[in-house]
């Protein structure tokens, strides 16, 4: 019998509508109770005074690169980076090598994670074989092996008929379908968001319309099929408006936004620095403002990092040659506090929802709550401690972050998975 007690923290648990200074008692990986002055006898004590105690944060969109790209990240290193960012669970996208398009690959990831990962890892399966957009993958078998959603992240299904069939399958299996919305014809060859900045810098543009047209198509198909449809890393203001519209019509359409898309616009990038190169690209100032608004008003269901490790030599090239994507796990909470909570745009309660009940609901995960009897996954946060992100000390195997050296006020302090402290700030 192993006990852990977190003393005197401000416990904020949106799922149970709790916001009070209390102790949280954990036994054998399960929440035993949340109340002031619980007996700590026989328990390891964690002094949480002055800190926030929240249900474990879930990042529903990461790339762990294993199998196939272990030089960039592994399930082990990625999970440690997640823990260091305050996440107790991550969902990994299927664009590995081989692509996670079969129960074999899914099982491999699940087994590896069980053996190596400090946090919970939920695989997301491919929509189509090899994610090449043509023939549906073995979706039912992958579900049986443990995938929590399907997505061809990074290689969106361009053929509307294939997408329709995938949605029908997802509906029948009660799996959410997550799409990376990008019309590949419209975005072809693009380096950054299309606008004055791309023209100024002589870089090829990725228009917002490349995202918008696919969101529009998918919403129509979601209505046709009744599928639970989720927009990954939504970045464009019109896409957000369409998600809001779909929901007002009663469709089960949800979306996530990444910290970098609400924190940085195309006018703020360091030109030709590949750490500002990702898909979707950093959009215009008005898009960033729309994301902040959508997060505050509830249109956005979850925040997710799209943690995308790439080794240094791949990012140290001519901008147009560099791969897309940046690290995100360790800076997510800091950026959310900095851009949303500290300026008063959202409450801490709302921030916690966006990383707990939000993703848990989309993916039907039995997580994201501190109610007695639930798994003891806990994220401890400081709202005010100042710290500097040093990417060279990251547990990730890659270093591609534009936030290296940035000073944050507030961030994760400890990460508890299944009642065990898997990471603690030094």
């Amino acid at each position: 019998m192993k006990r852990l007690i977190l003393k005197n923290g401000r416990v904020i648990d949106p799922a149970s509508k709790v916001d009070t200074v209390a102790d949280v008692l954990v036994e054998d990986g399960v929440i035993l109770g949340v109340a002031p002055n619980l007996s700590s006898s026989g328990a390891e004590v964690f002094d949480a005074s002055g800190l926030i105690v929240a249900p474990g944060f879930i990042d529903m969109h990461v790339h762990l690169r294993e199998p196939g790209f272990e030089h960039a990240e592994t399930i082990e290193s990625g999970a440690r980076a997640a823990a260091a960012g305050g996440f107790t669970a991550v969902c990994c996208m299927p664009n590995t090598k081989p692509v996670n398009d079969s129960a074999t690959v899914t099982s491999y990831i699940v087994d590896r994670a069980r053996r190596d990962a400090a946090v919970r890892v939920f695989p997301i399966g491919a929509i189509t074989k090899g994610s090449n957009g043509e023939e549906l993958a073995a979706i039912a078998s992958m579900k049986a092996a443990g995938v929590v959603a399907i997505s061809d992240d990074g290689r969106p299904v361009m053929n509307a008929r294939v997408m329709r069939r995938a949605m029908e399958t997802a509906k029948a299996l009660d799996l959410p379908l997550i799409n990376h919305c990008e019309d590949l014809h419209l975005s072809s060859g693009g380096d950054m968001h299309e606008g004055v900045q791309s023209i100024r810098l002589g870089l090829r543009g990725i228009p917002s319309a490349s995202e918008d047209v696919m969101v529009a198509r998918d919403i129509l198909l979601a209505e046709l099929t009744g599928c639970r449809y989720h927009v990954a890393h939504l970045s464009a203001k019109r896409s957000l408006a369409m998600v809001a519209y779909a929901r007002s019509k009663g469709l089960t359409v949800t979306c996530e936004v990444t910290p970098h898309h609400f924190a940085v616009s195309d006018t703020q990038i360091r030109p030709y620095d590949a750490n500002y190169r990702m898909k979707p690209p950093l959009r215009g100032d008005d898009d960033v403002e729309a994301m902040l608004g959508g997060i505050a008003d509830g249109t956005v269901d979850a925040l997710a990092t799209d943690h995308a490790p790439h080794p240094g030599d791949e990012k140290m090239q001519e901008f147009e040659k560099c791969p897309f994507g940046i690290l995100g796990l360790e800076t997510a909470i800091g950026l959310t506090l900095d851009r949303l909570v500290h300026p008063g745009r959202i409450s801490l309660h709302r921030m916690i929802e966006l990383y707990t009940t939000g993703p848990a609901r989309i993916l039907s995960l039995d997580l994201g709550s501190l109610a007695p009897g639930r798994p003891a996954d806990i994220t401890v946060i400081s709202e005010s401690a100042e710290w500097v992100y040093d990417v060279n000390r990251s547990p990730s195997k890659s270093r591609n972050s534009p936030f290296d050296g940035v000073e944050f006020r507030g961030g994760p302090v400890a990460t508890i998975v299944n009642g065990l402290i898997v990471w603690q700030k030094d």
């Binding site: 060859g189 299309e194 606008g195 004055v196 791309s198 023209i199 100024r200 810098l201 002589g202 870089l203 030109p271 030709y272 620095d273 030599d313 140290m316 090239q317 001519e318 901008f319 147009e320 040659k321």
Partner: protein
């Protein structure tokens, strides 16, 4: 300028004026073929060209030699780049040979800007992708000044493939700093609306007659087939609607000059009669290239 010359956009008007004035000093005196100096004696400069170029490379070579510097030119396709060496490694190798400056042309926008963050050596941008070609804009400005005596208040029509043109961008940034009225003209796909917002004083006109009317300078651009991934219009239509002929020149202001960064494609964007006419200053541009590059090299290295 201490770190080299990456672009016009970040330069102050004052700095540009200083270079243009110094370039005038380097123009050949009457009855002489060129001016020489030994201000860069003992200095060495590397010309590193990742894209084929004759005129810009030779122009920089001559400019460096006339200032007394040693210059070596590397055509990168023939070097280790084709063996898979990365850009950073190629530059580090070169830097180990201790040149005082690197003159660089590259097909990727921002390649010199990216490198300048990791190298201590000054880099002179001799054209990066579809971004900037600063010395071209400087020599164009010198040429306009030689012929028209001023920049302020002029109207300059820039015609052709603007979106893919580093010459156009550098010229827009430069002319805009001098209060020039800039009219951009070309097929819609090659002149996106956002171009009008990259600098003050820029407007877009899709009709060539309207664009040229009352212009003091007609600046033609080369049709860059190698950068156009999708043809903007059938090949035969281009010259008909955006090629420069004598009829167009008549619409411009009296005494207007016609410029082209070269190499020219006769019959594609400019007719021979215009290219060889009195109003054409194309060869003056080439000549000024050397004087302007001497001024730039001297400013960075002396």
């Amino acid at each position: 300028m201490t770190n080299g010359l990456l672009g016009i956009e970040e330069l102050q008007r004052k700095e540009i004026e200083t270079i243009l004035e110094r370039a005038r000093f380097f123009q050949p005196p009457p009855n002489e073929t060129f001016r020489r100096s030994d201000t860069l004696k003992g200095r060495s400069v590397v010309n590193l060209f990742f894209e084929p170029s004759t005129r810009t490379r030779v122009s920089f070579e001559i400019a460096a030699r006339r200032l007394g510097a040693e210059v070596s030119s590397i055509q990168a396709q023939a070097s280790s780049v084709s063996k898979g060496e990365s850009l950073v490694d190629t530059l580090n190798t070169l830097v180990a040979m201790r040149p005082d400056a690197i003159i660089m042309r590259h097909s990727a926008s921002g390649a010199p800007h990216f490198l300048s963050r990791y190298l201590q050596k000054p880099i002179i941008n001799a054209g990066d992708g579809t971004h900037e070609h600063p010395t071209q804009a400087l020599l164009d400005a010198r040429t306009i000044l030689d012929h028209l005596g001023r920049l302020d208040g002029l109207r300059v029509a820039i015609i052709g493939d603007i979106v893919h043109s580093r010459v156009a961008r550098s010229n827009i940034y430069l002319l805009s700093k001098f209060g020039v009225d800039i009219v951009l003209c070309g097929p819609a796909q090659l002149v996106p609306a956002d171009l009008a917002r990259i600098a003050p004083g820029v407007r877009i006109e899709y009709n060539m007659q309207k664009a040229i009317r009352d212009a003091d300078v007609i600046m033609m651009l080369r049709v860059q087939l190698e950068r156009q991934h999708e043809p903007p219009m059938p090949a035969g239509e281009y010259f008909r609607f955006y090629g420069l002929s004598n009829d167009h020149v008549k619409l411009a202001r009296k005494g207007a000059i016609v410029m082209h960064p070269g190499p020219i494609n006769r019959g594609r964007e400019i007719s021979s009669e215009v290219a060889d006419s009195q109003s054409s200053v194309i060869l003056n541009q080439v000549e000024n290239g050397v004087a302007v590059r001497m001024a730039v090299l001297e400013r960075i290295l002396a």
